[in-house]
């Protein structure tokens, strides 16, 4: 069975909510839409206080080519344009909408009938995706239309669908595949048409045999789509690791990107969003979110409107447990610890993970014993112990030479360190510094 070639670890899977069907979460009282919920320029608001909006009304326009429009997930009145603390922990500008009723834009096709055929041209598809505010749903939130517009000189050869869900606990993609298999496959076909390729691979880890079986059985009805079962190993859902696992190619060091080896990688949730955007005229304003944790009463998967505060999801899953120590937006390996539970659900919110106080605490760091387990674990073939030590000493020249910018911050090094050293903290510091130095150098040229 296929997998990526360098490094990797095996965190406990803890997929507590894998058997729970997707439930639709009720509407929030107020929905909050941060203007930066994607990589790139923040969106520009096109509504003002007092404006009445419907479900699916565009409320902010893309702020550039690498940016994405934002749509209201609720009907009601714009209360204010203010700032909110989002999952990153920073205060960011956002649009606040008070919910009144549930009135949808008429252009949206709300029926559940499968629309299989798509007669649009690739350019029309990309335009439609762009116009629906679709971004990568795996967490990085890179605008989808940008990935489908290759830079000059690059040609896509295949679309790879990331259905790996290698983060422990999260089950949103898994459930989506079980419940919306045909819609996803149509979405993949549309993405292949938009990227002008005839091959599409869906990479699914072997810990989801039901999803592999279902998708494989259904994929025979769709030309060119192959389901690729993958051996379970973290971080297989990393874009570069997935390309290596599925087509055996490796993307050269930055600034090279996946398209340089002919691959366009999209998350399975994105494929579903593309289906809805192109076939149902439905912009991206809701997504499946896993709410989970060992102390939580009912770990669940909710179809959630964007802008819903995380506290509402937690309440629906049985309420915040007494012994809560940490609330994480995303999974335990790469998710972000939240400062409060009022953080709104955004396009990239794949899960809410509640950790109890004991799980939430880090181990006491000890001296590095040079066991080299971090070197074996690093999926990018770096030396995390060295990058961390040199970053701690401020030796930016050395860490740049040792390829710190290739780090994907997957956390495998720190996960595996017997001395509990906070390596990734230091590597992030180093990446920030070196990134600044590189930008300054390029600006001088």
């Amino acid at each position: 069975m296929k997998t990526f070639r360098i490094g990797g670890v095996h965190p406990a899977e803890n997929k507590l909510s894998a058997g729970k069907a997707i439930e639709t979460l009720g509407l929030p009282k107020q929905a909050v839409f941060p203007l930066s919920q994607h990589i790139g320029a923040p969106a520009t608001p096109i509504v003002k206080k007092g404006d009445v909006v419907k479900v699916g009304t565009k409320i902010a326009e893309a702020g550039g080519f690498v940016s994405a429009a934002i749509f209201s997930s609720v009907s009601g009145k714009v209360n204010k344009i203010d700032s909110v603390i989002d999952a990153s922990g920073y205060r960011k500008p956002a649009i606040f909408i008070d919910v009144e009723g549930d009135e949808w834009e008429e252009s949206i096709d709300r029926s559940t009938t499968l629309v299989k055929d798509c007669l649009l041209s690739p350019e029309e598809i990309v335009a439609k995706i762009k116009n629906a505010g679709v971004v990568g749903m795996g967490g990085a939130c890179f605008p989808t239309h940008v990935k489908l517009s290759p830079p000059p000189g690059c040609k896509a050869e295949c679309v790879i669908i990331n259905a790996v869900e290698c983060e422990p606990y999260l089950t949103a993609d898994h459930r989506l595949m079980l419940e919306k298999a045909d819609e996803i496959l149509v979405g993949v076909s549309i993405l292949m048409k938009a990227a002008k390729v005839s091959k599409g691979y869906i990479g699914i880890e072997n810990n989801k045999p039901d999803a592999i079986k279902l998708m494989t059985a259904k994929s025979v009805n769709y030309a060119g789509i192959v389901v690729v079962p993958l051996k379970v190993k973290y971080p297989q859902g990393g874009e570069k690791q997935l390309i290596d696992a599925v087509i055996g190619r490796q993307v050269p060091a930055p600034p090279a990107i996946p398209i340089n080896v002919g691959a366009v990688v999209q998350n399975v949730g994105t494929a579903y969003a593309v289906y809805e955007a192109v076939q149902k005229n439905k912009p991206l304003f809701e997504r499946v979110v896993t709410v989970t944790g060992k102390s939580l009463k009912n770990p669940s998967n909710f179809l959630t409107r964007m802008g819903t505060p995380m506290s509402q999801l937690i309440d629906a899953a049985g309420g915040l447990p007494e012994d809560t120590g940490k609330v994480i937006g995303g999974g335990p390996m790469m998710g972000k610890a939240l400062v409060n539970t009022e953080v709104p659900i955004c396009k990239g919110s794949s899960g809410v993970l509640i950790m109890n106080d004991k799980e939430a605490r880090r181990g006491e760091p000890q001296s590095c014993i040079r066991c080299a387990k971090c070197v074996s674990a690093c999926p990018m073939g770096l030396e995390p112990y060295l990058l961390a030590t040199c970053s701690a000493h401020g030796d930016w020249e050395r860490v740049e030479h040792e390829m710190i910018m290739s780090c994907i911050e997957c956390g495998s090094c720190q996960f595996t360190c017997p001395s509990h050293r906070p390596m990734l903290d230091y590597i992030r510091l180093g990446k920030g510094k070196v990134g600044g130095i590189i930008r300054a150098r390029n600006a001088k040229k």
Partner: protein, 329 residues
């Protein structure tokens, strides 16, 4: 509620591995060899091992507390116990107590704490202790008791080891190799030597355990063993009366102990797989060179010691295979 949430950077989970687990894991891997040493050398082995462990732990505790004046001692992490056992394994079972204690002081004091404790030492502490004693007390360190004297300690009768016979052969004694025990006896450990090194079988069981528990990788032990096998095998083909068979080389002296437990010490061995193989091949090569052409009958500890010194250099030049170096299949 909101004000008591813990906020820290990812990853938020850990595989629950720890320094202690690794150190005690190595100690568990040493149990078969320890039992064999008790079976072969009886009381002497028990006394030497206990003295060495107690002395090593005591010196680590005393130096941390009274010289370095640190609040927390590291004696519970298992590394001092491990150094004690490994040092004992490298000593003859009839060594007087006071020499063992000096060895423990050299190992922990000079070998480890001088540099700041666990993780900072350039040389394997147990090896520092052994080499210190070998140079300081050459007579006591090179007279090994015969096996099976279960109730004797310093009064045990001593005998020539297989390695001494092999050295005599190199020096022209054509009948020396014929006196070697057969390969199976050497493999099981029924022959004189330092107390922990005699049974290749017991040490290999320890290797299997450590590989299974992912405490070490195969790179260092396998590259050492393979190099010794090939190099000594070639020499054996050239002149089988002067140079012992490769299996005799593998199963005698400290070779297995060194390859499996001493050279693989985390702190003093290279960090990358490529580096580990270079390190292992060099140790194997140096060991055979010293055994066949050097003044000492055994070269394992010197070979590891020399390569410990090269570890930082190897780390500087041997980088792991970076992602992206292979662009296409």
């Amino acid at each position: 509620m909101a004000n008591k949430l813990i906020v820290s950077l990812s990853p938020h989970v850990h595989n629950n591995d720890s320094v202690q687990k690794n150190m005690y894991g190595v100690l568990i891997a040493l149990i078969p060899a320890l039992l064999v040493s008790f079976y072969m050398f009886g009381l002497g082995a028990v006394i030497v091992t206990l003295t060495s462990v107690i002395a090593c732990v005591f010196f680590e505790w005393a130096i941390t507390k009274f010289i370095l004046k640190r609040e927390r001692t590291t004696i519970m992490d298992g590394s001092a116990i491990l150094t004690g056992v490994l040092l004992a394994f490298n000593l003859p079972s009839n060594l007087p107590l006071w020499i063992i204690i000096i060895g423990a002081l050299a190992a922990i004091g000079i070998g480890k704490m001088t540099f700041g404790g666990l993780g900072c030492n350039p040389f394997n502490p147990a090896l520092v202790g052994r080499i210190f004693l070998l140079i300081s007390f050459p007579v006591q360190m090179t007279s090994w008791p015969e096996v099976g004297q279960l109730t004797s300690y310093t009064d045990a009768t001593t005998t020539a080891t297989p390695l001494a016979l092999m050295k005599m052969a190199v020096h022209g004694d054509t009948s020396a190799l014929e006196q070697l025990p057969d390969t199976l006896t050497l493999f099981l450990g029924n022959n004189p030597g330092s107390l922990g090194e005699v049974s290749a079988l017991a040490l290999l069981l320890g290797l299997i355990y450590m590989l299974w528990k992912k405490i070490i990788t195969w790179h260092i032990p396998v590259s050492i063993i393979a190099t010794v096998f090939v190099f000594s095998g070639l020499m054996h083909l050239v002149d089988s009366t002067a140079y012992a068979s490769p299996l005799a080389h593998l199963f005698t002296g400290g070779l297995m102990l060194g390859a499996i437990f001493m050279a693989t010490d985390y702190v003093t061995s290279p960090m990358t797989h490529k580096g580990m193989i270079i390190y292992g091949v060099a140790i194997g090569f140096l060991t055979v060179v010293i055994r066949l052409f050097g003044a000492y009958p055994e070269g394992m500890s010197f070979a590891i010691f020399i390569m410990n010194a090269f570890t930082p250099l190897i780390n500087t030049y041997c980088k792991p295979k970076r992602y992206g170096e292979v662009v296409k299949k």
